[in-house]
Symmetry: C2
Subunit: 241 residues, 2 copies
């Protein structure tokens, strides 16, 4: 009887840990959305809010870290319970990084709000929407412990990489047209890179969900990632000095 009581309360503790991850993921999702809004609307109040709220995400990570350590020490879990706890630790670390990237987008939107608007900014909301969809799918997959959904979300990361790589070329061309575009376009490039990195962390979470549910890491080849590192764009002849 007393043993059953302990078992039940451990299940509750694991559920609580899982809820913390879900909440933390929800906050990060909202932060990404608000950061993109701050950029699109040139709204410095939203940007300041996002930068400040990053502390909330850090607090979640600390709480989850402490809770996992406590459960590992007190419960000495095995098999799937152990995977639950180790996965929580990994996923919290990925969500914390997503929060950092959202805060960085908000910081750069403050710099952009001081500068004339530039055309390629239009592609950022498209990347932002895709990132949010991927994050939502991955968090749903976590709540439902749905490996197929996690794998499907991970596959969409490739679309994001393609969007990023084409934006990279477009922004470079635009910088070459007028030196006044260079500072805003540089911030746009880093914002796009941040969104691409958020997609990578969502991919990590999808892989952790696979490990959590199936018990071993995902062995299929990871989507190739962005190709922009190899990109060379040269100015049109009439622009050369």
């Amino acid at each position: 009887m007393s043993n059953e009581h302990i078992v039940k309360s451990f299940a509750q503790e694991l559920q609580r840990l899982s809820n913390l991850i879900t909440q933390m993921g929800g906050v990060a999702e909202a932060q990404v959305e608000a950061a993109v809004q701050a950029l699109v609307r040139r709204d410095t109040a939203i940007a300041a809010q996002v930068i400040q709220s990053d502390l909330r995400i850090d607090t979640y990570e600390r709480e989850i870290d402490n809770e996992t350590l406590r459960l590992l020490a007190l419960r000495q879990p095995m098999a799937s319970d152990l995977r639950e706890i180790v996965s929580a630790l990994k996923i919290a670390s990925d969500i914390e990084r997503i929060g950092d990237y959202a805060a960085n987008i908000a910081k750069r939107s403050l710099a952009l709000a001081q500068l004339p608007a530039v055309r390629p900014a239009g592609a950022i909301p498209r990347m932002g929407r895709l990132v949010q969809e991927i994050m939502k799918e991955v968090l749903d997959a976590f709540i439902e412990r749905d490996v197929d959904k996690a794998v499907a979300a991970r596959r969409r990361d490739e679309e994001l990489d393609d969007l990023y790589t084409s934006l990279f070329r477009e922004v470079l061309t635009y910088m070459m047209e007028d030196p006044r575009n260079i500072t805003p376009c540089t911030h746009l490039l880093f914002i796009a890179k941040n969104l691409e990195r958020i997609g990578d962390h969502a991919t990590n979470i999808a892989e952790t969900i696979h490990f959590l549910v199936i018990g071993h890491p995902l062995t299929t080849e990871r989507p190739k990632g962005d190709e922009s590192s190899f990109t060379v764009v040269t100015p049109q002849p009439e622009l050369q000095g």
Copy 2:
């Protein structure tokens, strides 16, 4: 007697885990050094080598992940042993990211080798040396379980952020001088950002060492990070279109 035997062999297993981290860190340190060399010497063979060797680092991470799970399940460790294992998991994840950044620097050095050399590239080796020093100090701190050394290394991350922020301004100005500088300078900016991020991961490792040795997270304020996200550089009047 039999009990003592188990205790001793657990200590050996923890030592082996710790050695794996040290080896993995050594490989990552060598990768960062080689990536900066590939860039400076425009040596595509070294760059290709670095890109390929990133798999070795990923393999280390998988081995460390498996080993931590095995030890958690079989040994059900408490207190400092538990911290050893959880720390190994966290540090391996930071070193894996450092490896990814080194590989990205190598990829971009391949793009740069096709383009005319640009002046601000000179500041990259300085950032590279500083990053390597910080990594070496952090890895030594890990081997010696020396918290003071870890905290000192973490403080040097601020120098790195300052170097990055001033390079950011310089590169933007250089891009404004000639559109042919834009593509190489964009890759340089991302390379510098990668080095700055490697410093952040070394900082994370320093914080994990603090937790590992002292038993609780570092509570002092984290160094402020790079300020370039807020940077606005405008072209000289004679350059404006």
